[in-house]
């Protein structure tokens, strides 16, 4: 089964375990936050002891890291707390060390944690998707109202990763002290959060303190929201985030999902009707012609451009002259 609903969970309440999976250094300890029973995909708080070292290599899974405390050394580069990495499956990372030790959040998205020693990328790796950034210093806060209907003022975000196909996102967010938002929310996507610092409150789950975590499957009610003294957290959604707000604390995930479908019907009736009438023909989703269309390929004849790329022959290039109309 997919990841279960883990909410709330506080990693401070449990002790670290030694990582024994092959490939990783032996000075790695972890706390499991959530795991997908089918794929082994998981999120862990990880402690790297001082002197930790792992060889260069890639994972079979796509993975993400957020440095929570301490520093990492990657070759001759040092990265500090707030540094974020998005690493595609098969992308070979340099050797990673931590001279003084570090706490990091590790998220394996498509499979169990793995590290295959390698200095070259796997030939299937989407290497162009790799990126890393000092999210604390090199990204500015923007208002959290990136989707509509929106969260209340007082939530700020920094977007760390965005998947243009699924609209999955990784971001950090904060709530100002005395933040509150009086509605109940749910989404079509799963939502995950790890509190880097501070406490926030939700009407269903109570306080989530520093080290607090949730993995919440789609359509589960959460909110009203408040944070008395403010908080900063890492958040993720596994597909498009849409805020369905309401004020019925007793609605079930099934009722919430039905309401979401009703909203699609009300908003996009033609699309809804098509999907319902074609629902049995596409077990893996309808065809996306962009993924199946025939491409020119390297052998295509006369594949050189004919113009300099600035030409619009339909535009009038002749001189304007005045003439009288009848």
């Amino acid at each position: 089964m997919a990841r279960p609903h883990i909410e709330p969970f506080v990693d401070r309440d449990v002790t670290f375990k030694r990582m024994l999976l092959p490939g990783f250094g032996r000075d790695m300890h972890y706390k499991m936050l959530s795991m997908d029973g089918d794929t082994g995909a998981c999120t862990m708080t990880v402690q790297l002891d001082g002197g930790y070292s792992q060889p260069p290599g890639f994972s079979w899974s796509e993975w993400e890291i957020m440095v929570v405390e301490g520093e990492l050394q990657l070759d001759d580069r040092t990265v500090r707390k707030g540094h974020y990495f998005f690493v595609p499956a098969g992308y070979a990372m340099p050797a990673i060390k931590s001279e003084q030790g570090a706490i990091v959040l590790m998220m394996y998205n498509t499979g169990e944690p793995s590290l295959v020693e390698a200095t070259e990328h796997h030939h299937l790796a989407h290497t162009n998707l790799y990126h890393d950034v000092d999210s604390y210093l090199d990204i500015t806060w923007v208002p959290g109202n990136i989707v509509k209907p929106a969260v209340a003022s007082g939530v700020m975000i920094k977007l760390l990763n965005y998947n243009p196909i699924s609209h999955a996102m990784t971001f950090i967010y904060c709530m100002t002290p005395a933040f509150y938002q009086d509605n109940i929310s749910y989404h079509d996507c799963a939502e995950e959060s790890y509190h880097l610092w501070g406490t926030s409150w939700m009407m269903q789950f109570g306080d989530i303190p520093t080290g607090g975590y949730f993995w919440r499957p789609a359509y589960i009610n959460h909110g009203a929201f408040a944070s008395e003294f403010g908080c900063i957290a890492l958040g993720r959604v596994d597909s498009k985030l849409f805020n369905y707000f309401h004020y019925n604390p007793w609605s079930t995930p099934q009722e919430n999902q039905t309401r979401a479908a009703a909203r699609v019907y009300q908003r996009d009736p033609l699309l809804y009707k098509w999907m319902v009438s074609h629902s049995h023909n596409h077990p893996h989703g309808p065809e996306d012609f962009e993924q199946t269309q025939k491409l020119r390929g390297p052998e295509f004849p006369d594949n050189e451009p004919e113009t300099d790329g600035h030409k619009h022959s339909h535009w009038h290039t002749h001189k304007h002259h005045h003439h009288s109309h009848d």
Binding site: P4, I6, M32, D36, D182, N183, A224, Q257
Partner: protein
């Protein structure tokens, strides 16, 4: 769940299979504990629901961003007959 991103097919070792099995067993315990704790929170939550209804009727419901709509007392929902207050749903719409 899926991030719809690339996964490169590979063989899992016995060690890895065993590790996943153990982690899943512990996750079951973690889930059960949370489920109990959230049941125990029900009395506090009942009060929070009432305070929420007071705030949205007197001060407003956040309909979109900071836009607030006051909900009339007679338009507040009632708990459906026989339904228990429940906030943890193991696999969401996919049931238990």
């Amino acid at each position: 769940m899926t991030f719809k991103n690339l996964f490169i097919d590979h063989e899992r070792s016995k060690e890895e299979e065993e590790w996943i099995r153990e982690e899943l067993a512990e996750q079951e315990q973690r889930f059960a504990k949370i489920d109990r704790q959230m049941s125990d929170l029900a009395p506090a939550r009942a009060k929070w629901y009432e305070e929420f209804f007071d705030r949205i009727s007197l001060r407003g419901f956040n309909a979109d961003g900071d836009q607030k709509v006051k909900i009339k007392r007679e338009d507040l929902p009632v708990k459906p007959e026989g339904r228990e207050d429940r906030v943890v749903w193991k696999y969401g719409v996919d049931g238990e």
